[in-house]
Subunit: 220 residues, 2 copies
């Protein structure tokens, strides 16, 4: 309780026989634990740097922020990996002759930002892609070429929107995602998926009081 400093000052000079052994033992023990603790700190710091090296988008060098950035990065990565896996599965099971694939690409011009609870893989279609209506001209005029949504956790969804790459597309894209009132944007990122395509990925969290409105549409 009383945080009084134990003075490490030496009181030698009087006792000889076991006094010396006691003090030496104590001191040796102290230095051992000290160096051990130091090594422990170094180990953790190195691991932290190692982690930081793996995470792109490091915002602050701050120790806690490194872990925080790693957390959101891992979340995005997990979601992305899951989505890719499903995509692979879908592509593998569907033979997709060239004609069909071409049609598929053309058909994927959907720009529904209000894709609320509309994911019904009807007829056992395992695709998580929601089927939108006709693509109306976007806010910036860029056509959306792909929209995907996948549940990646309890009330958490991974959403990807791909559209043409034009100047000023990011803001309406973010606005569209944020306009989903029952979601909260947990993280989002924008990058290029081709010479003329940008893709924005988001992790959305359902507001807790709306959680029961959503359910999973399992693919298989």
């Amino acid at each position: 309780m009383d945080g009084e400093g134990s003075p490490p000052s030496v009181e030698q000079g009087s006792g000889e026989q076991d006094d010396v052994s006691a003090t030496t033992r104590k001191r040796r023990d102290r230095s051992k634990t000290i160096v051990s603790e130091r090594k422990r700190r170094v180990r953790m710091k190195e691991k932290l740097y190692e982690l930081r090296a793996l995470v792109p988008n490091i915002t602050k060098m701050d120790k806690a922020s490194i872990i925080a950035d790693a957390v959101v990065y891992v979340k995005n990565l997990q979601a992305h990996a899951m989505k890719l896996k499903e995509e692979v599965a879908a592509l593998e099971t569907q033979p997709m002759s060239p004609a069909v694939r071409q049609q598929h690409q053309q058909q994927q011009q959907k720009q529904n930002a209000a894709a609320g609870r509309r994911q019904q893989g009807r007829g056992g279609a395992p695709s998580a892609d929601s089927d939108g209506e006709e693509g109306s001209p976007g806010p910036a005029g860029a056509r959306v070429t792909h929209v995907g949504a996948t549940q990646v956790g309890d009330g958490r969804f991974f959403v990807t929107v791909e559209c043409e790459r034009r100047d000023g597309v990011a803001a309406p894209l973010c606005a569209a995602v944020e306009s989903l009132a029952c979601f909260r944007v947990e993280s989002s990122s924008l990058g290029r998926s081709g010479p003329d395509r940008v893709v924005s990925t988001h992790v959305l969290m359902v507001h807790t009081h709306e959680k029961n409105k959503f359910f999973v549409v399992r693919s298989n």
Copy 2:
């Protein structure tokens, strides 16, 4: 050097009337820093638990091992995602004559066989949503708390903008960045930098014909 001075009883006669104020100030400062440091530790620990909840196979609860496990997990996840992405690209662009597809499937099987241990998120982690988010009913108009810009290449700049966390901040943030007419947004991402802060990072590319208009302002 040896920081003594805990006894708040008497100071030497140098101070006339500052004796009480000096000790009070010192003590207040002490407790302030103490509680601040304590909060820092708590923050880091929470972030660490949050990270641990994301990593499926946690070997030891040890603090450094958590980061180590996270490191190897992120490495695996990155590799896995890259492989999946290549796979998707290959599947999408292949004309897929029957022979080719068969070969591809064989290759697929080999990959699956080689990847003996699979780590798929399974570790039923309890909901680590430590942050009780509150519905702040604010429209846009969140205050920007930090802006940074660094040149990271030839005509390429890394820009960070931090502001208050409100619903719907991402879109105006992107709009603001995109409104810089002489830049093109190469990539951008949005995440949280604190319980009440969001930070958006962007990589901007100067349009080539404007490149000579910009130069570096070195900070230190």
